[in-house]
């Protein structure tokens, strides 16, 4: 009897352990039939509107930091990209992405010289995190606020005359994109779209409204987008209306591949929700049924990912690609 159970036991434990480890599929989740928030709205427990404004106190508080380790992965991703000109970013080293280290070691956070010309040019830019939005950006040091797309498109943040560094979100929809390794200094860089931030970041210029050539309606669902591959042309202006057609809140952001690589290593870590992931554009927390719009101008050839970075949403399918002709890349997670 013992021998029988010994053999059955050994075989059973081995087989089952194998099935329960290697034989398990990827992470998945089915959404509810309908979001319960609707019922709560009827009860009066939730605000009526499905489109809630973002809470600035939260975004300005600087509480979401970017860990220093992200830079390591960012550098590695950039190197891997070689000379490929991605989204107008000079990835070959002329534009120093790793120079985006905003830590006190490299840049004086108190009055950061972003133009490489004259610190006074930055007079209006509050990098100190006191929470004031930056409205008058004089980027080329001529004393005049440079908000024209031409100036913005060529914004040189490195002082080396190379084109814009991706990763620095000047569009202001996400307050903490400039969060430096010491976490504090960039908080005040919030520039709300309504103040017409017109710098094209990473080759995309995103504004609240404006003239546009075509419209795209994008619906966020569980788990993906109504359009997973968007083809765009250089210079095109597109009005995006993004709607949450699912039953779970989502967010929406544009990122480049290196930016994704910078944070991917920690995408399943427990601290994911507690840290910031830099993006070119971000709209946080759209409730089911909510929608938002923006106008996007494609200023360079390249490809950009759009995704939702709530835990596992991206891994389950919420990531698409927008690319100019011939620039689309294999998306890897």
């Amino acid at each position: 009897m013992l021998k029988f159970f010994g053999i059955v036991g050994l075989a059973g434990v081995t087989l089952t352990t194998y099935l329960v480890t290697y034989g398990v599929g990827p992470e998945m989740q089915l959404p509810p039939e309908v979001s319960l928030l609707e019922g709560f709205r009827e009860e009066g427990a939730m605000p009526e509107s499905r489109n809630l404004e973002e809470d600035h106190a939260a975004e300005d508080s600087g509480v979401f930091e970017v860990p220093a380790e992200d830079d390591v992965y960012l550098d590695a991703a950039l190197e891997a990209m070689g000379d490929m000109d991605m989204a107008g970013m000079d990835m070959s080293g002329g534009g120093d992405m790793s120079g985006m280290d905003m830590s006190a070691a490299d840049a004086d956070m108190g009055d950061m010289d972003m133009s490489g010309t004259d610190s006074s040019a930055m007079a209006g830019m509050d990098m100190s995190g006191t929470g004031e939005a930056v409205l008058d950006m004089d980027m080329d040091g001529d004393g005049v606020m440079d908000m024209s797309s031409a100036a913005m498109g060529n914004m040189d943040m490195t002082g080396t005359n190379d084109t814009a560094m991706a990763g620095m979100d000047m569009s202001g929809t996400d307050s903490t994109d400039m969060a430096a390794t010491d976490g504090a200094a960039m908080d005040g860089m919030a520039m709300s779209p309504s103040n017409a931030a017109m710098m094209g970041e990473g080759g995309l210029l995103i504004t609240d409204d404006g003239a546009f050539d075509r419209e795209i309606d994008l619906t966020m669902l569980e788990w993906g987008y109504s359009d997973m591959e968007i083809d765009v042309k250089m210079g095109e202006r597109i009005k995006f209306t993004v709607k949450n057609g699912g039953e779970i809140p989502h967010e929406f952001m544009f990122m480049t591949m290196p930016l994704m690589a910078a944070a991917n290593y920690r995408a399943t870590r427990a601290d994911w929700n507690l840290l910031e992931h830099e993006a070119l554009f971000e709209q946080a927390l759209v409730l089911p049924g909510g929608e938002f719009e923006f106008v996007l101008q494609v200023q360079q050839a390249g490809s950009w990912m759009f995704m939702c970075m709530l835990p596992y949403h991206m891994q389950m399918g919420m990531m698409g690609q927008m690319a100019t002709e011939g620039m689309s890349m294999d998306m890897e997670m």
Binding site: L2, V20, V24, P26, M28, L30, R269
Partner: protein, 526 residues
């Protein structure tokens, strides 16, 4: 007070216990389907060991992941599958079947009937559980052993319905097991006043099994129905008109009595072997009877303490649950008092001190005190709403009770029975290794969990933040867990080796010898 003598029918040592090799010479058909109560019991016991090995392997795997923060090798879904199956296999596959099987073995002997009534039902109960186990392996649910709705309807595992069906099958299997225990308890001759305590335990817990599994079966059915959308209005899914509170109440109406299903038979084992080792009756018979009856009654209404921090029925009901939960300590206190008094009231023979089953028994009592006394806090709304609910404090509590007490007591029972079904004595050295590794390992891991819980470490996470104390606690739990695993390996080696090469035993393997130095020749085999 009335005193008991060793030949008092209440002592329940009636039937002849003779050491014999019951394991060899069996055909496959006999191994699988024999209705002899000892074969049924042994089949159940060995299957339970396989389940322990399985659940333990899962634990070793996720414990290795959790020892350090940051994700090393287990993804979220694999982790939850391991964790869900760990819970289900350990509770439904290891612990309950093991204590029930030991009861199937011991009851007929104690009652002097030498046969198990309704053995067919016991067979059916076993095989239905095997089918449930197979379904769980194929379906691999990842929704925790408590399968909370609506999450357990939507984890994205297409075979999730197998988990729901397995729940229904477990309910059926447990019903049958309870019926067998109840029926056999009734076979006690001589009326209530002369019924051995193990029969009182089997009778009360058999009844509790039978009543409490209906909610479990309904839960399995309701989950299946909601998943398959058989009804327009769901039972439990709030996004289709169902009620989550309905789920919680129904599930825990099974869930709370469920914890007594391994607890009470383990208590019964103590009442059976303690007098044997001490050579004298228990301190009190009636105290034991009252405690068994009170526990069976008190077990039913306190399910809601498992979800106390949910908005529930308003008013006094919440407080009622708090009070009743605390009152259910009383039966356990009666038992512990009885055991300690029985130990205290006379000398403890050297033979007892040396015996591995006795050692496991004494430390089981220590663990029931550890897990039970600290649970006084769990019952109260205020601390429960602070650090206790769904933190690691809860696994600390149930590992102390399920493993520290019930599991260890079951092993005490197995060591006790060993000479009777093998005709040989187990190896003392390996037994001691097993014993010490478990006491130390269990203590470290339970205390580690308790500390983690006090520090608000959440349940069901495969990775955790860098909070002071969290990583240390997890490392401690992992080390404790490895020790427990190693201890079990010693047991398995002992089991296989001693069954074949252990010293043969022909007489009473458990003679009561007060002074071993004076009569070493009479000592049980090494």
């Amino acid at each position: 007070m009335a005193t008991m003598e060793m030949d008092d029918p209440k002592m329940g040592l009636k039937a002849h216990w003779e050491p014999k090799n019951l394991l060899s010479g069996l055909t496959l058909n006999q191994i699988l389907f024999s209705n002899d109560y000892r074969h049924i019991a042994l089949k159940g016991i060995f299957t339970a060991f396989i389940m322990l090995a399985l659940g333990g392997t899962f634990a070793i795997i996720f414990r290795t992941e959790l020892a350090l923060p940051d994700v090393q090798f287990l993804g979220a879904r694999v982790y939850m599958t391991l964790m869900t199956l760990h819970g289900m296999v350990m509770v439904f596959g290891f612990l309950i079947p093991l204590v029930v099987s030991i009861s199937y073995y011991m009851l007929p002997k104690i009652l002097g009937t030498d046969r198990l009534l309704w053995a067919g039902a016991a067979q059916a109960s076993y095989w239905i559980l095997i089918v449930a186990a197979v379904l769980l392996v194929i379906g691999r649910p990842d929704f925790t052993w408590t399968a909370y709705a609506p999450m357990s309807l939507r984890t994205g595992n297409p075979n999730i319905w197998m988990g729901h069906v397995a729940i229904i099958l477990v309910a059926v299997s447990e019903f049958l097991a309870g019926a067998v225990l109840f029926r056999n308890a009734l076979a006690s001759k001589g009326g209530l006043k002369n019924t051995p305590l193990m029969a009182w335990a089997a009778g009360t817990i058999g009844l509790l099994f039978m009543i409490s599994v209906f909610p479990l079966g309904f839960v399995g059915f309701g989950l299946l129905s909601d998943w398959a959308q058989w009804t327009q209005v769901a039972y439990f899914d709030p996004s289709r008109g169902g009620s989550v509170q309905f789920f919680l109440y129904v599930f825990w109406t099974y869930g709370h009595p469920a914890v007594y299903l391994p607890f009470v038979p383990a208590i019964a084992i103590i009442y059976t072997i303690m007098p044997r080792f001490l050579g004298r009756p228990m301190w009190s018979y009636w105290s034991g009877v009252v405690a068994f009856v009170l526990l069976a009654i008190g077990a039913m209404p306190i399910g809601p303490h498992h979800f106390q921090p949910v908005y529930t029925v308003s008013g006094d009901y919440q407080r009622f649950v708090q009070i009743l939960t605390m009152l259910v300590f009383i039966p356990s206190v009666l038992h512990v008092f009885n055991w300690i008094s029985s130990l205290f009231m006379g000398p403890i023979p050297d033979s007892a001190r040396r015996a591995i089953p006795f050692k496991f028994m004494v430390f089981s009592i220590a663990f029931i005190v550890y897990g039970g006394a600290t649970a006084f806090l769990n019952a109260q709304i205020a601390p429960d709403s602070d650090f206790i609910h769904n933190s690691y404090w809860i696994p600390a509590h149930f590992h102390a009770m399920f493993f520290g007490f019930s599991g260890q007591m079951a092993f005490a029972g197995v060591y006790f029975l060993f000479p009777y079904f093998t005709g040989r004595m187990y190896n003392q050295t390996m037994g001691n290794w097993h014993f010490w590794l478990w006491q130390i390992g269990l203590f470290i891991k339970i205390t580690g969990m308790g500390i983690a819980g006090y520090l608000y470490f959440p349940r069901w996470v495969y990775d955790y933040l860098d909070i002071p104390g969290w990583a240390d606690a997890q490392m401690a739990i992992t080390i404790g867990g490895y020790m427990v695993g190693l201890g079990f390996l010693f047991f398995l080696v002992n089991l296989f080796w001693s069954a074949k090469y252990g010293k043969e035993v022909t007489d009473d393997p458990w003679p009561v010898i007060h002074d071993l130095k004076a009569a070493p020749a009479a000592a049980p085999a090494e």
